[in-house]
């Protein structure tokens, strides 16, 4: 067997694992938001229970990246791919942590009366979830243009965050009895806003992987 076949096998395995991790993370986010919006504590607990598998995958991918670099010495686009995977993996794990935090808030809020019907929050979550899916697709297909398009979408998340933030603060000021619940929802919006930032990081790494261009902090 030729050496590059061994390398290709490792790269393929890395690609599979990171996509698996991406899928698990995306599911965790969707379920966490469903648990919050539909007040479904059982689903929230599923998210929390599933986090161990995500952590395990993160460690497995870390090891694979180190092994691939040490044993196969990838160069050029192969090296950029392994480095990108090594950097995307902890980002996905952190997104999953945010999903867990949202699930924990859902468990707490589901014991109390609903503050108000959710309108912007589900939209914001859908945006974040859609961005994550598109970012993973762009990464899988090595499509830098698609990654750049996803980065653009983060502004919409930020706009929704600012709007929900203002609404919740107004609610707390006008009716202090809502403060605890509103504060929990503020945390949720912050978690989603952070997820948008993390997805942007994934897209920047996709651009790096594809074009060897460092666009992070390029403003």
């Amino acid at each position: 067997m030729e050496l590059h076949r061994l390398l290709d096998r490792d790269l393929e395995m890395l690609r599979d694992r990171v996509l698996l991790l991406g899928g698990e993370t995306e599911t965790a986010l969707q379920k966490a938001m469903y648990a919050l919006i539909e007040r479904d504590t059982v689903t929230a607990r599923e998210v929390l229970d599933g986090d161990d598998e995500i952590d395990r995958l993160e460690v497995e991918i870390d090891r694979l990246c180190v092994d691939t670099i040490a044993l196969r010495q990838p160069a050029a686009r192969d090296l950029r791919f392994v480095i990108s995977v090594a950097k995307i993996t902890p980002i996905l794990e952190r997104i999953a942590d945010h999903a867990c935090n949202i699930a924990r808030v859902a468990v707490d809020l589901n014991d109390e009366p609903q503050l108000k019907p959710y309108v912007d929050l589900p939209r914001m979550a859908e945006f974040a979830s859609g961005m994550l899916r598109a970012a993973l697709d762009a990464f899988t297909s090595g499509d830098a243009a698609a990654a750049r398009a996803v980065i653009e979408r983060d502004d919409q998340i930020d706009q929704l965050y600012n709007r929900i933030f203002r609404d919740l603060i107004e609610m707390m000021v006008s009716n202090p009895t809502t403060t605890t619940r509103a504060a929990r929802l503020l945390f949720v919006t912050k978690h989603i806003e952070r997820i948008g930032d993390y997805v942007t990081d994934i897209c920047e790494l996709t651009v790096y992987m594809t074009e060897a261009a460092f666009i992070k902090h390029s403003n």
């Binding site: 160069a75 050029a76 686009r77 653009e152 403003n219």
Partner: protein, 284 residues
Amino acid sequence: MATPTSTTASVKSATETMQERTRAFENDRESRVAAKVSVRELDFFYGRAQALHKISLDVGSQIVMAFIGPSGCGKSTFLRTLNRMNDTIPGTRVEGSVQIDGQDIYAPGTDVVELRRRVGMVFQKSNPFPKSIFDNVAYGLRINKLTSSKTELSDRVEEALTNAALWPEVKDRLKASALSLSGGQQQRLCIARALAVRPEVILMDEPASALDPIATQKIEELIVELKRQYTIVIVTHNMQQAARVSDETAFFWLGKLVEVNSTEQMFTNPNEKLTEDYITGRFG
């Protein structure tokens, strides 16, 4: 963190970034002192067979340039054109120019012995003379009459052995046969022999390919150290070695120069697909 302004506008296009890096590399090259070695439109023939095609390449002062490429691509042949080592092979012919410090080394009347003093060479297989360690290093100094006293000769031998990182290991046995040294030591002795005549350029043709990892590491450390004083051109089949020791890398294929670039760029994002295929092991 979320920012109130669009991030899109700040996202620089990849092409723009690449162009900037290429410009930076070119500017850096231009800002250096004029090229130590300058090759233009070089063709080389073994009889009727053309081994090199229109090679143009500059090697700056006090850098390490690595030549990489598959076997038979012409990198060693090209290396040997830089100090006219191919002259010793009957039926060979060179067209184009090779300049060292602006002087054409193929111009009529060129003193080839003096050229090879200025442009030293270290080969794949260490080739010490069956003489003492001291006499090996002193050889070039003696035949070129470069020293005027025994003391000066001893000083120059010590200097060369020190610069080749061999002095501490041999200083107490300078009269011992060079053939008693280990393979790695013999190769460093050959480097010392090349350094003794104070060359300006050192050509190395796979200098560590026959050595174990520890001896290889010593040679590589030596190469990095030597570039403070010398211009070094190294042919290597070991791409990790090229990445470790060189500042610039040139990729040859079928007698043509495909790409010359900063080593960092070459191993992370080469300009040519052929280069990328070679260094990622997808060649052929």
